[in-house]
Amino acid sequence: MAGGKDGRRAPGRRARGELEGAVLAALWAADGPVTAAVVQEQVPDTAYTTLLTILTRLCGKGRVTRRREGRSYVYAPVDDRAGHAAAGMHSLLAEGGDRAAVLARFVSELSAQDERLLEQLLHGDSSA
């Protein structure tokens, strides 16, 4: 994991906030409520006990719900206040202008030519 004040940090020693984010992302990516073991597969280099701690903390904050299913708990993300606040900013992207310019976006728009080029690159990479 690159990070920390001077650029590098040992793998596995991620900040708590980052780990919570990774767990939350995995829960949102799942099709429905999943067990902690399924989440662990999606978040690499994390001990099972650490994962349970993170899930419990997220439950405590109301960002995740859990219910008993059979012998274990299954977890699901909550569409919470944070998400609603973020949705407001999300809609800014469509408006453009200065307010959209201060948001650092992951990907920008593509032209038709870009799309074809990307398809080729993706294809070439997966077959390599």
């Binding site: 994991m1 690159a2 990070g3 906030g17 980052e18 919570e20 984010g21 990774a22 767990v23 939350l24 992302a25 995995a26 949102w28 990516a29 597969e41 999606q42 978040v43 690499p44 903390r57 997220l58 904050k61 109301g62 960002r63 993300p77 569409d79 919470d80 206040r81 944070a82 998400g83 606040a85 973020a86 949705a87 407001g88 900013m89 999300h90 992207l93 453009g96 200065d98 307010r99 310019a101 201060v102 948001l103 650092a104 976006r105 992951f106 990907v107 920008s108 728009e109 593509l110 032209s111 030519q113 870009d114 799309e115 080029l117 990307l118 398809e119 690159l121 993706l122 990479d125 997966s126």
Partner: protein, 311 residues
């Protein structure tokens, strides 16, 4: 008589820096390139504004009220001034316009940043990630204390585990290295000098590449980042978000760069950057010195005239 060429030299050198810096910056590793281009943009914009101010002052100095403050002789200044009065007046006008537009642009961009920062506090529910329940793939970072990464559920479902890690690492790199400040400063330099627009674009691209490389280091495989970017961009594009695209966006270049070996440091490019920036500052110093001598001569003429009339 003062030779006019040195008076305009800084404008020429800063134009060379403005147009050459994007070319050189693209040939550097992203992190070093982003910093070099930021410095170049600030030096070029600073030289441009200072030079305009110097040129404008050779005319402003001929206003009797201003000359009385020196005091210097208006007629001596007018006779020796290598800058035509028309050009100097135009420079003064440009300085006024630049001051107004820079103030407006800083205010607008600054307010947008503060608004985003405020909204960030509402998103600060825990962890550094806020998820918007929306099938359209989208992801961005918001500067704040601490900053937040906002991702749509559509984007998270689209990517696999390592690719999600790459996406989060990319956005966190933006937050950690304050990339918003880079884009703010680059934007303001283009307001001062439109010649710097291509440098702004190259700088913004270097910043994205920097975050990409950090993400590659975080997930331990640069190809995973390339795949995440390509899939996210294709999916966003198909979701109809790309209606405004005609610029041949930098996404394919980012993917290509990640699939190619990392760019190595090149001493020559660094030297070229330093030489050009030094030339900017040096030529400005020469102009400032020449202008100072011009005004000194006019002050001397004034003092002599006063002595003669006193006799």
């Amino acid at each position: 008589m003062f030779w006019p060429v040195p008076m305009y030299l800084p404008l020429l050198v800063s134009a060379v820096l403005a147009l050459g810096a994007p070319w050189a910056g693209r040939r550097m590793p992203p992190r070093a390139g982003a910093w070099a281009m930021l410095c170049a943009a600030v030096v070029a914009a600073g030289t441009w504004v200072t030079e305009l101010a110097i040129l404008a002052f050779t005319a402003v100095g001929q206003v009797p009220l201003v000359a009385a403050q020196g005091p210097w002789s208006v007629s001596a200044l007018a006779a020796e001034d290598p800058v035509s009065r028309k050009i100097a007046a135009v420079c003064a006008g440009v300085i006024l316009v630049l001051t107004v537009s820079l103030t407006l642009a800083s205010w607008r961009r600054g307010r947008a940043l503060v608004d985003a920062w405020r909204e960030c506090r509402d998103i600060a529910a825990g962890g550094d990630l806020a998820v918007v329940d929306d099938p359209v793939p989208a992801a961005f970072a918001v500067l704040g204390l601490p900053g937040r990464v906002v991702v749509s559920s559509g984007m998270l479902r689209l990517l696999d585990g390592p690719e999600r890690g790459a996406l989060l690492a990319h956005e966190r790199a933006h937050l950690r290295h304050r990339h918003h400040v880079f884009s703010l400063v680059l934007h303001l330099t283009t307001v001062v000098n439109p010649l710097l627009r291509s440098l702004e674009r190259a700088g913004a691209f270097a910043v994205e590449r920097w975050a990409d490389e950090e993400a590659g280091a975080a997930v331990g495989d640069r190809r995973v980042v390339a795949r995440a970017i390509a899939r996210a961009a294709l999916a966003s594009s198909r979701a109809g978000q790309a209606a405004l695209a005609a610029t041949g966006g930098p996404v394919p270049q980012r993917v290509q760069a990640l699939l190619a070996p990392p760019v190595r440091h090149r001493v020559g490019v660094m030297v070229a950057f330093s030489v050009l920036m030094a030339a900017c500052c040096g030529s400005l110093a020469v102009t400032a010195h020449d202008t100072e001598r011009l005004f000194e001569a006019a002050m001397h003429a004034h003092a002599t005239a006063v002595r003669v009339s006193a006799r």
